[in-house]
């Protein structure tokens, strides 16, 4: 059966139907996968089966450091979500529990090319005129 139950799959499939453009899940792991790399890999394999708009692009960070550097990734497992553009959205570690919901939300946002925020927030965000790196630290829930 895998990590996702039939009910999970049906629900996720329904959510992913709202995708517009294709999204590439750029996944960094290593050939001899650690526990969480393996779990993340399995989860992503199951996820991309649920819609043709999600593609998995696999990279071995050990043999492909250059791509890792390009995406700002230096540890595994790590995921970059890339739609029509790379918006700099990264998931470092397995997105489990509550974070999986955030992961699906991010897939939808990237697919639409626009986050679901209020017009005021979108307007204010234009004022950011220098690099900003936001890290949200979470734990498995």
């Amino acid at each position: 059966m895998g990590l996702l139950t039939e009910r999970d799959r049906a629900e996720i499939r329904r959510v992913l139907m709202e995708m517009k453009e294709d999204v590439k899940i750029v996944f960094f792991t290593q050939r001899f996968e650690c526990g969480s790399c393996r779990t993340t890999h399995e989860l992503l394999d199951e996820l991309v089966e649920l819609t043709p708009k999600l593609k998995l692009e696999l990279h071995d960070l050990v043999s492909d450091k250059a791509t890792g550097e390009r995406y700002g990734v230096d540890k595994v497992p790590a995921i970059a979500l890339v739609g029509p553009r790379d918006y700099g959205i990264r998931f470092k570690g397995l997105p489990s529990g509550y974070e999986f919901g955030a992961f699906l939300d991010a897939v939808l946002d990237v697919s639409r090319g626009a986050p679901s925020v209020s017009p005021q927030v979108a307007e204010e965000a234009r004022k950011v005129d220098r690099p900003v790196h936001v890290q949200v630290l979470v734990s498995p829930s």
Binding site: F91, K92, G93, D109, V121, E124, V128, V132, V134, Q135
Partner: protein
């Protein structure tokens, strides 16, 4: 996504414990902006943006 200058990571601290230690994280979620500004707990988007603007001196 709203601005090319902003990039964001979700970081699972059980796999990046050194970040939790470096930033002195007591509870999650915990947000760090540009390695310096900290926000504890869940943060609504308008507050997040205000803090980002503060972090860059606006």
């Amino acid at each position: 996504m709203l601005n090319e200058n902003i990039r964001s990571d979700m970081v699972e601290i059980s796999e990046y414990p050194f970040l939790a230690i470096r930033y002195g994280v007591q509870g999650v979620p915990h947000t760090v902006i540009n390695d310096v500004y900290h926000l504890a707990g869940a943060v609504p988007e308008d507050v997040m943006l205000k803090e980002i603007l503060k972090a860059i001196g606006k």
